[in-house]
């Protein structure tokens, strides 16, 4: 049986790891290579590494650093940040990335998703959808001032080819107060690809609530691993209690 995936996320600002709240207020949380080493030792299901400022600062992701991160990992790694061209994707896959995460280019030019999927296979093309809630309505969180209703974007993007979605609630990012279950259930109906939910997981109960209330394959989290004693294994033990299949392996001593 396919197991639910618990995916730690490392967000990088070009210099070090940071953890944001509501996509702002970055707080330094350490060194990416060391963090990757720890997660590898814990045998996590997968790892996400994103340079959250690459697109904004119009620069490429640092391939040397990404390569050093991937070298630590004997599990799948998804890489995102400033990926805009076929060559960018090729460069990342070549150094061992299993998936690339596209966001800005998917909004500007969704045809690129089909082009990339035809070359690399849809399974390694992940799109990031960041949703922000304003006055009870969901919008796409983008770099431009132009507001896009989330449901408009979901309808549009669902006709393009890609392999996975990382869905993040901007409002809940870093708040550790639980996932936005309404947002999750709004999005799942549009897609047949796996969905990774992100934004808000602060204790194991939040994860239980997510998997009770929705039909998703995976969850990503960051703050809970940076700022609490909980490990990915603790979350798995919690969601196993509600009957979800998880992969439990022995972890090294703390």
């Amino acid at each position: 049986m396919l197991k639910v995936r618990i995916i730690p996320v490392l967000t990088f600002n070009g210099f070090g790891l940071v953890k944001t709240k509501g996509f702002s207020h970055p707080r330094m949380v350490g060194n990416p290579v060391q963090a990757a080493r720890v997660y590898n030792a814990r045998g996590v299901d997968e790892l996400v590494f994103v340079d959250i400022l690459a697109s904004k600062q119009n620069r490429k992701i640092n391939l040397k650093l990404v390569s050093d991160v991937i070298k630590e990992c004997f599990m799948p790694v998804a890489i995102g940040g400033g990926v805009k061209t076929i060559e960018d994707i090729h460069d990342l896959l070549k150094i061992g990335a299993d998936k690339v995460i596209l966001k800005t280019i998917a909004i500007i030019n969704p045809d690129f998703l089909n082009e990339a999927s035809n070359i690399f296979g849809a399974q390694c093309i992940t799109i990031a959808i960041d949703a922000i809630k304003k006055d009870n309505e969901y919008f796409l969180y983008t770099l431009s001032d132009h507001e896009i209703l989330l449901t408009d974007y979901l309808k549009k993007i669902s006709s393009f080819t890609f392999g996975e979605i990382i869905l993040t609630s901007v409002n809940n990012d870093g708040m550790m107060t639980g996932f936005d279950l309404n947002l999750v259930n709004l999005c799942t109906q549009y897609f047949k690809v796996p969905i990774v939910v992100s934004g808000g997981g602060g204790n194991p109960n939040h994860f239980k609530e997510l998997f009770k209330a929705s039909n998703v394959e995976a969850v990503a989290a960051s703050s809970i691993f940076h700022f609490t004693q909980y490990t990915p294994r603790d979350i798995k033990l919690a969601i196993a209690e509600i009957g979800k299949p998880v992969r439990l392996i022995k972890e090294p001593p703390h």
């Binding site: 396919l2 045998g43 799948p76 998936k99 035809n118 296979g121 399974q123 390694c124």
Partner: protein, 201 residues
């Protein structure tokens, strides 16, 4: 010498890293003479079937592989796309011919209620334990939208349940290939690689 074929289709660095971890000397290459002089051939691969087979053909690798693996019976390991390309026929993104070492077709998943790609850790059911005598956890990492349907069921070495029984590995004489990524499957994955590379088949 173990060689990893570089035909422009991803994940070669991860395979090499896993081999170095296992202390297995290896080189990444697309040089035809190097392939001819190798002892063990690994064909990894991420990407679409059509692009993969076109690259192998254009680089002249298909012909060399046919001879080294089918005639000279060199040990061969295919991973993911590197397994799928062994079939007669692929469909990604359009119908096309594969290497044809395994009779069968690579088809898109179409199982109601199951998301595609099949992505994540899934436990396999072992049919031939030549390389799977690894004990313990048998969850492996899968990431694929297409799966191989061989005509001869006796080539199936392991299956995985994703609404239907999906081929997780095949084994035929000197040929072994996995749909999952052993190089990304932590301890059990490394154990399978180790078992294959160090066996005296």
């Amino acid at each position: 010498m173990v060689i990893i074929i570089d035909y422009g289709m991803g994940n070669i660095a991860s395979v090499q890293k896993a081999l170095f971890f296992l202390k297995v000397e290896n080189v990444i290459t697309r040089d035809l003479d190097t392939i001819k002089n190798s002892d063990i051939i690994i064909l990894p691969g991420v990407g679409s079937f059509q692009k993969g087979i076109n690259n192998l053909n254009e680089l002249g690798i298909s012909e060399v592989l046919n001879n080294e693996v089918l005639n000279n019976k060199k040990k061969f390991l295919g991973i993911c796309l590197g397994m799928q390309l062994l079939a007669d026929k692929g469909n990604e993104p359009a119908p096309c011919k594969g290497l044809g070492w395994i009779k069968g077709e690579v088809k898109k998943f179409d199982v109601s209620g199951y998301r595609v790609p099949h992505m994540g850790w899934n436990n396999i059911e072992i049919h031939k334990d030549t390389y799977f005598n690894i004990g313990g956890n048998n969850d492996f990492y899968f990431i694929h939208s297409y799966h191989m349907v061989p005509e001869e069921k006796n080539v199936i070495s392991a299956t995985v349940d994703y609404g239907i029984k999906v081929v997780a590995a095949i084994q035929k004489e000197n040929i072994f290939a996995t749909q999952f990524h052993p190089e990304k499957s932590q301890i059990p994955g490394l154990a399978v690689l180790d078992s294959f590379l160090k066996s005296n088949a």
